[in-house]
């Protein structure tokens, strides 16, 4: 089968309940811009379903956001930063094209020097890719705790429609083997070549999207269908087994279309749609939504997370919440960050993003 | 050790002079000082020079002293540039005094010069911040007015000082400056205007801050027992003191006092054998209005915390109990950084000789005068006590 040439078979019994999430944290900047501001400026707001989005302040970037999310995750997990053996940082639009940013993060949080670090980038599935790598790290016995943090604040040309939906945010997860609040019961990844869908060549400042609608839709559906159905088949699950489903959130509409096509219901997706409030947060999108679900999830509920990366791939994880979720330590929830907000107008938005 | 006298002083007007650079300004002040020696002096009698200069603009960062004595026609003599931020020429003067006290030389020049108004505004930002702590204060976005603003807020919090008191200092000093032909600003101002002017660093407005100025000042000192050869009105250096403090404000215990000033003043009073109440006239370092209020306390003119009361009661006006800054102070007279210290000496010498220009600024019967010169936010400070012969 041609499919087999392109799909990655990620089996291994290490996935059965042995690794998972010990703690998590998010960071969402406090500035927001409403869709109305775009309508005033451009006559249109080209991001269906997004009402307002988060804006990184002038002194913020994916690294600063990642650090606060990571500190929240460490506090939640109840571990010490010196216990961390691995830091994986993901961003589809990192502040540096070349410089180990995971080192800045690991130094700032107080992790030891003897540590594995790596930066994951170049697509909006970098966040889940980093999470899978962190699971591998812990499952293979290389270390006890891995920190995976995804943070994004992408830029596009201000006169392009793709810019309208771009938001800011970060989510961090501590991956370990014990005291899990949620374990990973299965993963699957898919890779297919669909170029020019959402991309940025080296040295260019702005994200591009050629907006070939039928091609983009085809790619999205092909990749998602292949990835999710293969995962469900291998672990013997059905769409109805899941309380929540997290898809890549470019806007508030597309995840619902994907869900319906795959046999899920709107009520499984709607609670996960944070993009309506924070915009498209790139590689952090799926992880921020996962965090928001974990804030209110109950033991034994199932969550499916499936990312989609810049026209070429998807990582899907089937996650089961454990009893330990009840024993929460004092932490800042996604709601806490969502509710602490200050609106800015379009001019201020442009200034923060150095667009003028 | 020998005693020291001042035999001649000279100062340019402080202000903005597009057509005069450091060289022109320094020479102008020098020539005035030479002419001020009433029995005449051969410039070649000057055997040593100490010149205060921060180096703003960077036109001559290395070997500035060599350039300075070259310009005044005295190349050959030992010369030193002294830099202690805004207290540069105050410390230059102190070094000159100590050189004469030691017996190494008999006639010494101590002066200062700064050219600040020929730099584009964005470049000026570099220079204005160099006297505070760089690594922590500056990289926290702090500015020079910002540091004094932090002091002002604490003084207001601890002692109930109000913004009105700060404005009163500005009003007094502008009133004095309006009568000083050498002052940068020669216009009076009102309390309302001062209070409602734009903020520079809350709670300090533009009227709480001294200007950026060009200017030069020169003093000529001589062994006291030889002074009568040059002048019938020598002014004697009765005492002096100096000190330092933690460079960064945030590392100090108390933001409402400058330890360097307190130490300097104590030493100076002790050496001169006087108490604060014996001082008839003072030129203090009012780089910001709050600095003058704090100086009242540090110099012992009033109790700690009562500086606001002193200005409110008018005690520091010309004609008050302790006239402060009859020249207009840094606030109105101006603050060409390197020239300010010896500029204060110039004013006190004129006051003690009963020669203040315009006569309305003359403090009558002044016998003992004090100068107080601070570097930056108090990293260094030097106090001199001068006495009529």
């Amino acid at each position: 089968m041609v499919q087999l040439l392109f799909t990655y078979l990620g089996e291994g019994d290490f996935m059965e309940g042995k690794c998972g999430i010990v703690g998590y944290g998010v960071y969402i900047p406090r500035f927001r811009i409403k869709s109305e501001e775009y309508v005033k400026a451009w006559g249109v707001f080209a991001a269906p379903g997004v009402k307002e989005k988060a804006v990184a302040g002038f002194d913020e970037d994916p690294i600063t956001m990642a650090i606060e999310a990571s500190i929240n995750a460490i506090n939640y997990a109840g571990i010490d930063a010196t216990d961390i053996n691995c830091v994986y940082f993901a961003s589809s639009y990192p502040p540096y094209a070349e410089k180990l940013m995971s080192s800045t993060i690991s130094t700032a949080i107080g992790a030891p020097s003897n540590i594995a670090t790596s930066d994951f980038t170049s697509s909006t599935k970098a966040g889940t890719a980093a999470m899978l790598a962190a699971l591998d790290f812990v499952a293979s016995g290389r270390g006890d705790f891995a920190l995976v943090v995804a943070a994004d604040s992408p830029y596009a040309d201000f006169k392009d429609f793709i810019e309208h939906r771009l938001g800011s945010g970060a989510a961090a997860f501590i991956i370990g083997k014990e005291d899990l609040i949620a374990f990973i019961e299965g993963i699957h990844s898919v890779s297919m070549e669909f170029f020019s869908e959402r991309f940025r060549k080296g040295g260019e400042k702005f994200l591009r999207n050629l907006a070939i609608r039928s091609y983009a839709k085809y790619a999205l559906n092909k990749i998602y269908t292949t990835c999710v159905s293969e995962l469900l088949r291998r672990i013997g699950r059905k769409p109805d087994d899941y309380k929540y489903v997290v898809f890549q959130q470019f806007d508030g509409k597309t995840p619902l279309e994907v869900a319906l096509r795959l046999g899920f219901k709107p009520e499984q997706v709607t609670p996960t749609l944070l993009c309506t409030k924070i915009g498209d947060t790139g590689s952090a999108s799926c992880l921020i939504s996962l965090a928001s679900i974990l804030d209110t999830a109950n033991p034994n509920e199932r969550i499916l997370v499936a990312s989609y990366g810049s026209g070429a791939g998807s990582d899907a994880l089937s996650i089961v919440v454990t009893e330990n979720i009840e024993k929460k330590r004092e932490f800042l929830t996604v709601e806490d960050y969502l509710e602490d907000k200050e609106y800015v107008d379009y001019l201020t938005y442009l200034k923060f993003k150095r667009g003028i | 050790m020998y005693k020291v006298a001042i035999i001649g002083v000279g100062q340019t007007r402080f202000g903005e002079f597009a057509d005069k650079g450091v060289k022109e300004l320094f020479v102008e002040a020098f020539l005035e000082a030479i002419n001020d020696v009433d029995k005449g002096i051969d410039p070649k009698d000057i055997k040593e020079a100490y010149i205060g200069n921060l180096g703003v603009g960077g036109i001559q960062l290395g070997n500035f002293s060599s350039m300075a004595v070259d310009q005044i026609g005295l190349h050959g003599i030992p010369a030193t540039r002294v830099e202690n931020a805004c207290a540069s020429s105050g410390f230059a003067f102190r070094s000159a005094v100590m050189a004469i006290m030691s017996g190494v030389c008999d006639v010494v020049l101590a002066g200062g010069v700064e050219k600040m108004t020929d730099i584009p505004r964005d470049k000026l930002r570099y220079w204005l911040g160099v006297s505070g702590d760089t690594e922590w204060e500056r990289l926290a976005g702090m500015t020079f007015p910002g540091v004094y603003a932090l002091m002002a807020l604490r003084h207001m919090h601890q002692y109930g000082t109000k913004r009105e008191h700060l404005a009163m200092v500005a009003v007094k000093n502008h009133k004095n400056g309006a009568q000083n032909p050498k002052a940068h600003f020669q216009r009076e101002t009102t309390l309302e205007r001062a209070l409602n002017s734009p903020m520079v660093a809350y709670p300090l407005t533009i009227f709480d801050c001294c200007p950026v100025s060009d200017g030069a000042s020169v003093t000529i000192l001589c062994r006291a027992d030889l002074a009568k050869k040059y002048t019938d009105t020598p002014i004697y250096v009765a005492g002096f003191g100096a000190g330092t403090d933690r460079l960064s404000l945030f590392e100090r215990e108390d933001f409402t006092t400058l330890m360097a000033s307190v130490l300097a003043a104590k030493q100076a009073y002790k050496m001169a054998g006087i108490e604060p109440k014996d001082v008839d006239v003072a030129e203090v370092h009012d780089c910001f209005t709050i600095a003058e209020i704090i100086a009242y306390e540090d110099l012992g003119f009033c109790k700690k915390g009562e500086g606001a009361k002193l200005i409110e009661e008018g005690e520091t006006e010309i004609g008050g109990r302790i006239p402060v800054n009859p020249s207009g102070g840094l606030k109105a007279k101006g603050h060409p950084i390197g020239a300010t210290g010896t500029g204060q000496i110039y004013e006190i010498v004129k006051q003690l000789r009963d020669e203040a220009e315009k006569r309305s600024r003359q403090v009558s019967g002044a016998e003992i005068g004090l100068t107080h010169n601070v570097g930056g936010s108090g990293g260094t400070a030097v106090v001199h006590i001068l006495r009529r012969g």
Binding site: G57, D59, E330 | G129, L139, G141, M142, T143
Partner: protein
């Protein structure tokens, strides 16, 4: 022109990123920023690194108006305008100076409880200089997961 070199900035990263103070083993005083000789007892003794909590209260503050900022903050001044800077007395004792962020001017007062956040401070020589700023303590709004 004053200039903070890359190595000079790098040496202070434990302080700028993680608020590491040096506790003097001789007298117990916590030195922050780091120094070679204890500021309190004057002995070059052994120091023990101690990570400060970053929590404290505003001791004094000011608002730096646009137009006079240090050159490192020229861009910030142009794009954001005036900004508050505070001296904060940390719980453990030392005072530290840093910008305030995420707060309105009306909130500022001596005694306000603040905490550190990691932010971009400035950019020079194509290298982003990171460090800490302060913000009013971010409070939790909910206590239990299903409480609305």
């Amino acid at each position: 022109m004053a200039y903070v070199s890359i190595p000079a900035y790098w040496k202070t990263i434990p302080q700028r990123y993680s608020l590491i103070g040096l506790k003097c083993k001789n007298c117990g005083y916590i030195n922050f920023p780091a120094r070679e000789i204890c500021a309190k007892c004057g002995k070059k003794s052994e120091f023990e690194p101690i990570k400060l909590s970053g929590k404290g209260k505003i001791y004094s503050y000011t608002i730096i108006a646009a137009g006079s900022t240090p050159p490192e903050f020229l861009l910030q001044e142009k794009y954001v305008g005036s900004y508050p800077v505070a001296v904060v007395k940390l719980l453990e004792g030392p005072k530290i100076v840093a910008q305030l962020t995420d707060c309105k001017v009306e909130e500022l007062k001596i005694g306000l409880e603040v905490e550190t956040v990691f932010r971009k401070i400035y950019e020079d020589e194509q290298v982003i200089r990171y460090g800490i700023k302060f913000r009013p303590v971010k409070k939790r709004r909910r206590h239990k997961k299903n409480e609305k």
